[in-house]
């Protein structure tokens, strides 16, 4: 029997998985590039990113370049740990039964 409870609920959505995957292999990623990589809308990315931020899995930097606001994202140490554990759990579930 597979224990689905052991999976991290925060990573259930494909968008959140996508955000975390990109941030795991890249240092800092801009909002625009992340949006294009994941092929999602502004609102969609913003809401999932803020959910991940709330759990301290990612950090959000907002700054101004000239007059334009620029948002960049970065994974935290906690986020790295949680996502690695999530990946290990996925692999484990796949191997069992």
């Amino acid at each position: 029997m597979i224990n689905i409870q052991s999976l991290n609920k925060e990573f259930e959505s494909r968008v959140r998985l996508g955000i975390m995957s990109v941030l795991m292999v890249r240092d800092r990623v801009e909002f625009k590039e992340l949006k294009e990589l994941l092929e999602i809308t502004d609102g969609n990315l913003a809401s999932h990113a803020s959910a991940l931020e709330k759990h301290d899995y990612i950090e959000v930097y907002k700054e101004f370049v000239g007059r334009k606001p620029r948002t960049t994202y970065r994974v935290t140490a906690d986020g790295k740990k949680a996502f690695t554990a999530h990946l290990a759990q996925l692999e484990k579930l796949l191997r069992s039964s």
Partner: protein, 207 residues
């Protein structure tokens, strides 16, 4: 349960592809290799022909003193080959990325270019120094070695196969160091034939 298992498999596949797509430049076309190789092959043979016409048999390297005017002509050909090869290689890669709907100018692209061109630039300056001191017999080995090192360095940001191409180019350069006088032949083998072979392999694997 089977449906869930499928879902996890899908998740893992999506994660892997997203990691690859965001950190590596995967639009490098095999045709770019073939085109650059063909240009180098033609250019190299042209240089061989010119040498032959000048009355110097390159293969048996009899009289190896070049007049400054002839040397300039060879250099112009070399620069021409470089420009045409880079342009045609860039053309096929841009075309491939457009066809597969991928963005061409990403952070991965920039990292690839910086990691490729920094060693190449250093090598280029070193080659100019060799030329300045009249050490033209070392030009072909030096270009092959520096190009190989540049590829090894850049391979972190694109296909793994580039690493092996780099090793082969650098090895040819090293062998050529010990067989002075056959530099142009090694140059044709490295920049012409190896590129074409690599391009054909990549085209068959990733199309």
């Amino acid at each position: 349960m089977a449906a869930e298992k499928y879902q996890y498999q899908e998740d893992l596949t999506a994660i892997r592809s997203m990691m690859e797509r965001s950190s590596r430049f995967i639009s490098l076309s095999g045709l770019s290799g073939v085109a650059a190789g063909a240009v180098a092959l033609l250019g190299g043979c042209w240089a061989l022909y010119l040498l032959h016409k000048e009355g110097r048999d390159y293969i048996s390297h009899s009289a190896m003193a070049y007049s400054p005017a002839f040397l300039t002509r060879l250099l112009v050909i070399a620069v021409l080959i470089l420009i045409i090869a880079i342009t045609s290689a860039a053309y096929f890669t841009v075309r491939k990325s457009k066809r597969s709907g991928l963005k061409i100018w990403t952070a991965a692209t920039r990292q690839l270019l910086v990691n490729l061109f920094v060693p190449l630039l250093i090598g280029g300056i070193c080659c100019m120094a060799l030329l300045y001191h009249g050490q033209i017999q070392l030009l072909a080995p030096a270009t092959l070695i520096f190009y190989g090192l540049a590829l090894i360095n850049a391979s972190k940001y694109t296909f793994q196969e580039i690493y092996y191409l780099g090793l082969l180019e650098a090895s040819l350069g090293l062998i050529s160091c010990f067989l002075i006088g056959y530099g142009l032949l090694f140059w044709i083998a490295g920049f012409g034939i190896l590129h074409i072979l690599y391009g054909v392999l990549m085209q068959r694997k990733y199309r």
